[in-house]
């Protein structure tokens, strides 16, 4: 018994790896700043919500409502920060032990595999857990006003903690099984972002919801989806008891889904998420514990072994040389980084998936469905009759003052010449058509859905490209410092101007094929619409993507990527390590894009004149994409036919186009000034670091 107790004591509380971290906790200035920043943000949210909270401060019900809103915002913020910070703190595990060469020393000590794995994992999680614990007093504020159940707060913390735990376990598994290199850190981070954002977006698709029968006997989809129990943000939304996002009752589920664990999965997503993630963490740790030393003894990585087995790699690492450009720095950035097997696979995978996605969207959009009732050039002006296919009636007379609507907007008699779905029509006493509501011919993906999906696809693609270029730029100088190649270059006649320009040019050239994906996706829709427009010549024709996007979109995306590249290079020059440069650079880019996007969206939705709103929004790349692809949903009154005088799509488009050109010039000036500053300070910065 004493042996087991001793083993357990040494496993966690007395674990020397963990103790080292705990004893030094709080001594690092960086950790203190992050902790203060985190608590500061929580406090700001509390104050902002209390100040802007609606209702009477003396009314308990209103206070309770404010408290609920406060809890929701703090929970989202807490989870968001944990999701952001946890990969940063745990990803280092992938290579740090190997890089610092303490790994072999640890393995040669009497420490057990369990102690090493758990010690490494918990020491990395310690900071995140400490961060969560430090936020408890701030969360306690909600209990003063009421309205938030203790159980909800507990679940909010459990969801955040289990997310941190599974992230750490994944990083440890990658490190143990030797499937990671320095570059894996970024892929790991990207995977987590794509998983969280992708799950959240896919949750909105009806395809992933279950149908259940309501009290009236109608089949309705559940408000939660298959992703709810697997995504922390969706699981969190469930505990808010949002009426629009309630999990189904067990009895409402189809019979086959009522058994365990599916019943649990659907009816209690929060508890399922917490338990599943903890189980997943355990499942990833057990092989690490069992095979740690055995895997450390192997000379090839699992990836290398697999590639050799699949005959994708001969293992001798030789190939035909490629021609080097006149500017070797640009060549290095653009070609050699892209030529590595993994990079090639990811690049072509990204391009292929993006194009396939766009083609599928276009195919679905152009596939027409057979409507219940339709008109197909069936208006006979001579007889003043209309044949409504599917109505079961022969040609129906049209009343003289017939009210025609197209997509709920007033239309003219001319529209009856067209080819539309008939949503409904009414007949007067003479059986003549008095009102008729027409809609575009139904498609497998209607225009609104096509725009939403295309916008989502474009935003995700551009976000990934921005992350890729930020990572590549941020690592470009630090990696040379770490590899020792920077000194070699600096002793050649290459000047700082040549070096930085070469890097910038190479980085932009590196992402150009990737940037072609969102542009080509939009181009597909523009060409498709152009053909339709030429055939229909309809003055009310609504584009899926405005044609001017072919000018503004590539220009804006390229200049923003160049901006991200020069910013990343700036961080890379200043920071001593790649990990720090990448994290700083990605953090700044994500923060700036989120802030710009949020401001742009708020401006578009506000009462600001639509032209001005579009002009301001055009400075943000994501807002510009919104205006170009899905303005009807997001660009406010300028594209709302019911908005009276504010409705001016042409004016908004012109304003957005012109200001976009200005924004590109502003970004270009920003890039130029940063470039000049880097050139000027390059030698001094490098020399200062070479001490």
């Amino acid at each position: 018994m004493l042996g087991i107790a001793d083993y357990l004591w040494r496993l966690v509380p007395g674990n020397p790896i963990l103790l080292r971290v705990v004893e030094n906790a709080g001594k690092k200035r960086r950790d203190a700043i992050i902790r203060c920043g985190y608590l500061g943000l929580l406090v700001v949210v509390v104050l902002y919500t209390l100040v802007t909270g609606s209702g009477d401060p003396g009314n308990l019900a209103d206070l309770s409502h404010t408290s609920t809103v406060l809890f929701q915002q703090m929970s989202y913020l807490q989870l968001g920060l944990v999701a952001l910070l946890s990969p940063i703190f745990t990803a280092g595990a992938i290579t740090q032990e190997r890089d610092s060469q303490t790994y072999d020393i640890l393995l040669s000590t009497p420490l057990t595999n369990g102690q090493i794995v758990l010690g490494s994992l918990l020491s990395r999680e310690f900071f995140i857990i400490a961060l969560l614990v430090s936020g408890i007093p701030v969360f306690a504020v909600t209990q003063i006003f009421g309205g938030v159940a203790i159980q909800s707060i507990v679940f909010s913390f459990l969801i955040a903690a289990s997310t941190a735990m599974v992230t750490g376990a994944m990083a440890m598994a990658i490190a143990t099984f030797k499937v990671g290199t320095r570059r894996t850190i970024f892929s790991f981070y990207l995977f987590i972002v794509v998983y969280l954002v992708g799950g959240y977006l896919l949750d909105r698709v009806d395809f992933f919801r279950l149908d259940w029968v309501d009290s009236t006997g109608n089949r309705v989809p559940t408000s939660t989806s298959w992703f709810t129990s697997l995504n922390p943000f969706l699981a969190l939304r469930v505990i808010f008891k949002d009426r629009l996002y309630l999990p189904p009752n067990l009895a409402d589920l189809p019979q086959s889904y009522q058994t365990w664990p599916l019943g649990w999965y659907w009816t209690n997503p929060a508890s399922f998420y917490v338990c599943f993630m903890l189980f997943l963490s355990l499942a990833m740790m057990v092989p690490s514990v069992l095979f740690l030393r055995r895997l450390a003894q192997s000379t090839t990585s699992i990836k290398g072994w697999l590639l050799q087995k699949l005959r994708l790699s001969a293992g001798d690492r030789s190939r035909k040389p490629r021609p080097v450009w006149h500017n070797p720095i640009a060549w290095r950035e653009a070609r050699t980084k892209a030529s590595a097997a993994r990079a090639t696979f990811l690049r072509y995978g990204f391009i292929l998936l993006g194009i396939i996605g766009a083609v599928v969207l276009l195919a679905m959009h152009s596939t027409e469905l057979t409507p219940k009732q339709s008109i197909n050039h069936s208006y006979d002006p001579a007889k003043n009759t209309l044949y409504v296919e599917g109505s079961g009636q022969p040609e129906i007379p049209v009343a003289p003052g017939v009210e025609v609507k197209l997509a709920d907007a007033p239309a003219t008699l001319d529209d009856l010449y067209g080819r539309y779905e008939v949503a409904n029509f009414t007949q007067d006493a003479n059986q003549a058509i008095a009102t008729i509501n027409l809609k575009e011919y139904p498609r497998e993906l209607d225009p609104e859905q096509a725009r939403s999906w295309l916008l989502g696809l474009t935003i995700v693609e551009f976000s990934v490209i921005l992350l890729i270029i930020s990572n590549a730029a941020a690592s470009t100088v630090t990696r040379e410092k770490e590899d020792g190649t920077l000194d070699l270059l600096l002793s050649t006649p290459i000047t700082s101007r040549y070096y930085i320009w070469g890097k910038l040019r190479g980085l932009v050239a590196f992402v150009l094929p990737l940037l072609a994906v969102p542009v080509a996706s939009s181009l597909l829709f523009i060409v498709h619409d152009l053909v339709r427009w030429l055939a229909a010549r309809d003055s009310n024709f609504q584009w899926i993507v405005f044609p001017e996007a072919m000018l503004t979109m590539p220009a804006m995306l390229i200049i923003v990527c160049a901006f991200a590249a020069i910013l990343g290079m700036q961080m890379s020059l200043r920071c001593r390590t790649t990990v720090r440069a990448v994290m700083s650079s990605v953090g700044i880019i994500v923060g700036a894009c989120a802030a710009l996007g949020w401001c742009g969206y708020q401006v578009l939705q506000s009462s600001t004149p639509p032209e001005l709103a579009a002009a301001i929004g055009a400075f943000s790349p994501f807002t510009l994409l919104t205006i170009l692809i899905d303005p009807y949903q997001f660009a406010g009154n300028g594209f709302n036919p019911n908005a009276g005088t504010s409705y001016d799509p042409a004016g908004v488009r012109v304003a957005a186009f012109l200001v976009c050109a200005v924004a590109i010039a502003v970004y270009a000036m920003g890039i130029w000034s940063m470039y000049k500053s880097m050139v000027k300070n390059f030698d001094m910065t490098i020399r200062r670091q070479s001490r």
């Binding site: 190939r319 590595a340 020792g484 190649t485 000194d487 070699l488 050649t492 006649p493 290459i494 070479s690």
Partner: protein
């Protein structure tokens, strides 16, 4: 002969640490200069300053009459710098690596291909042209480093520990390669801890300790200077103490004492002739079985001139 490398009162401080203190160095064209000193003595700092990678805090360094810091751009095409580590680019093969640096020296087109082929041949790396750089052995990497600095045919080679961590065969091959470069008329500044090889390769050496140059000049001179007075080892069959006492009385002898079975006789400065030793001992009835002048080489000279102090 004109000085290709010249430093005048070269000083480099890192905060309070003085890495170089008033270093005065002169290396002539075609010289192979061995830079010797304990770890942390300031060798790498000196080489980095000459390679235009560091700015001196004080003093002046000139390469081919161009001043480091002010005319660095003119210096860079004239030098080839090999650091004490191998800067490897991932995902590059040997030929790409050389072409990359050739392009950095603005060598392009057919000329670049020809030069790279010539350099690969000179350094015996032709058979590795398609091999990944980061998969090469240490010896091959060092040879590739030398190949890299030859693509632009520099006048001056700055080599920081080029033979460090190499196995004996790779070291010998490296030495032969450097001899070949010296024959080609290159001025070489090489730092190394392998002193016998430096003695074989270099015509001049400099000894540096704690940032100060203790000696600079021809190898033969340093040996002579380290020697100060001749030391002779004498072996007698019996009573070495009495024999030592006898020799100590001779006016040309500084000291004589038994040491590990033989007598170590130190002659006074300037005394070269030690023929009196056997005649005196034989006359006193001693039987001699050993008479040998102590060998002074670069290693002994280094040990005598330095104190083994590091910063």
């Amino acid at each position: 002969m004109a000085a290709v490398i010249k430093t005048v009162n070269l000083t480099k401080r890192y905060g309070t640490l003085v890495a170089l203190s008033n270093l005065n160095l002169e290396i002539n064209e075609g010289d192979c200069f061995g830079f010797i000193g304990p770890n942390g003595a300031g060798k790498t700092t000196t080489i980095k300053i000459l390679a235009t990678l560091l700015q001196p805090t004080w003093g002046e360094a000139r390469v081919c009459d161009y001043v480091v810091g002010y005319q660095s751009r003119s210096i860079r095409p004239l030098i080839g710098y090999v650091p004490d580590y191998f800067g490897a680019y991932e995902d590059m093969v040997v030929q790409e690596y050389l072409e990359f640096f050739a392009a950095a020296y603005n060598i392009n087109g057919a000329q670049r291909t020809k030069i790279v082929n010539d350099v690969l041949e000179l350094t015996d790396l032709g058979f590795k042209r398609d091999a990944a750089v980061d998969g090469l052995s240490r010896g091959m990497k060092q040879r590739l480093s030398i190949a890299r600095v030859l693509v632009h045919d520099p006048k001056v080679l700055l080599l920081d520990e080029p033979a460090g961590n190499l196995d004996p065969r790779a070291r010998i091959e490296m030495r032969e390669l450097l001899k070949e470069l010296r024959r080609m008329g290159k001025t070489i500044l090489i730092s190394s801890h392998i002193l016998p090889e430096l003695a074989d390769l270099c015509n001049t050496v400099g000894i540096i300790e704690q940032g100060e140059l203790l000696y600079s000049g021809p190898v033969a001179d340093i040996v002579r200077r380290a020697r100060a007075g001749t030391v002779v080892h004498v072996g007698v069959l019996r009573a070495p103490e009495q024999a030592a006492a006898l020799l100590a009385q001779h006016p040309d002898v500084e000291s004589a004492a038994p040491n590990n079975g033989y007598i170590e006789v130190a002659l006074k400065t300037g005394v070269q002739d030690y023929s009196f030793i056997p005649s005196q001992l034989v006359a006193a009835g001693f039987q001699i079985n050993l008479l040998r002048e102590e060998e002074v080489n670069l290693e002994t000279a280094f040990m005598r001139l330095t104190k083994g102090m590091v910063q």
